[in-house]
Amino acid sequence: MNNNNEKKYIRSHEPVFWGLFGAGGTLTAFMTPVMILITGILVPIGLFGEGKFNYQQIHQFATSWYGAAIILILVALPLWHTFHRIFHGLHDLGVKQGRDWQQVICYGSAFAVTIFVLTLLLQMIAA
């Protein structure tokens, strides 16, 4: 407690993570249901014709620069949203131990997957 000087205010870096959370959350809200419907349900039960969603088609898409960008965003951005929620969810559940580590692991996972997918896409484009 300091009596005479003003209280020290410490700026949080949360805006960075909140920005990514918001972008990912919006993308997820608009895109994830239809994506799951397509890749998780309609394609596996064979509702699309044989020529659709096959290796050639997807590979061609993934090796175009815009296709690669779309795939990166669709796969990685939601993770910045979800891991943010998981990090805060742990606090909600009263997991108090090692908040620093929880933070590193949560955002680190989102970061790692982003880099992983980015590297794969760049490799495919280069090949």
């Binding site: 205010y9 410490i10 700026r11 805006p15």
Partner: protein, 246 residues
């Protein structure tokens, strides 16, 4: 309509004689136009004069009669027995605050937070003299903050907020809504000082947008919206701060 009654269970706490709260059951005459506050007054007048609770205006404007009704934060004077009858009603002191005695809570932390956000107009400069007349404001400019100025400091939103429950360092809904009220006022120039409070971890960033504060608020203040908009402001402030650190 002969002599209907309703059961009211109150979580009592008498610090001079017990270590923790315990419930006590009362039965009071029922009528559809009675409020919880009137039922409490009936209990105090006729059944047990030792019961403690706060009230003043009886018309949802002083903000002193907040309590938990069946686990939901409510104003006693704005909540009617008819909405619970014939079921038993459970009353408890406002959640997330320490209990002083019976239904009375310690609100010091809440009041300190309201004071901390500088809840007064900070004019741009002191050059304007009283004789220059009032600071003019258009109805549009008033509309920008009016809703946030309706707060009666009842604390229901703090009782509704799990983030405040988990960590009382969080500035909390009403104080942040009040902060927004002054930051959004065209006559005020204190935003820069107040953004320092907003930008902290304990400022808006303690909020995970549960949104229950806005549901329980008896005056339609919508603190959750105030906080979301302040998060946007804080993010802008963060970006500006990266290029122009002060």
């Amino acid at each position: 309509m002969a002599n209907k009654t309703i059961k009211i269970e109150i979580l009592r706490y008498r610090p001079e004689q017990e270590d923790k709260p315990s419930p006590q059951l009362f039965e009071v005459p029922y009528s559809p136009d009675l409020t919880i506050l009137e039922a409490l007054q009936y209990i105090k007048d006729h059944l047990d004069s030792t019961i403690s609770f706060r009230w003043s205006c009886r018309m949802a404007i002083c903000g002193s009669c907040g309590l938990m009704v069946d686990g939901v934060p409510k104003l006693g004077c704005k909540t009617f027995l008819r909405d619970y009858f014939p079921n038993k009603i459970k009353l408890e002191a406002l959640a997330n605050f320490p209990i002083e005695r019976d239904l009375v809570v310690v609100m010091d932390d809440f009041i300190n937070k309201l004071e901390e956000i500088k809840p007064y107009i900070i004019p741009e400069d002191n050059t304007k003299c009283l004789s220059d007349g009032p600071h003019q404001q258009t109805p549009e400019k008033l509309a920008k903050y009016k809703q946030y100025s309706m707060c009666i400091n009842c604390g229901l939103c703090y009782a509704a907020c799990p983030q405040y429950a988990l960590d009382t360092k969080f500035t909390g809904p009403a104080a942040l809504a009040l902060l927004a009220r002054y930051n959004r006022d065209s006559r005020d120039a204190g935003s820069k000082q107040r953004m320092k409070i907003v930008n902290q971890e304990e400022g808006v960033w303690g909020c995970t947008f549960v949104g229950y504060c806005s549901v329980v608020c008896p005056k339609g203040v919508d603190p959750a919206a105030a906080i979301q908009l302040l998060k946007v402001e804080s993010s802008k402030d963060y970006l500006i701060g990266m290029f122009k650190p002060d």
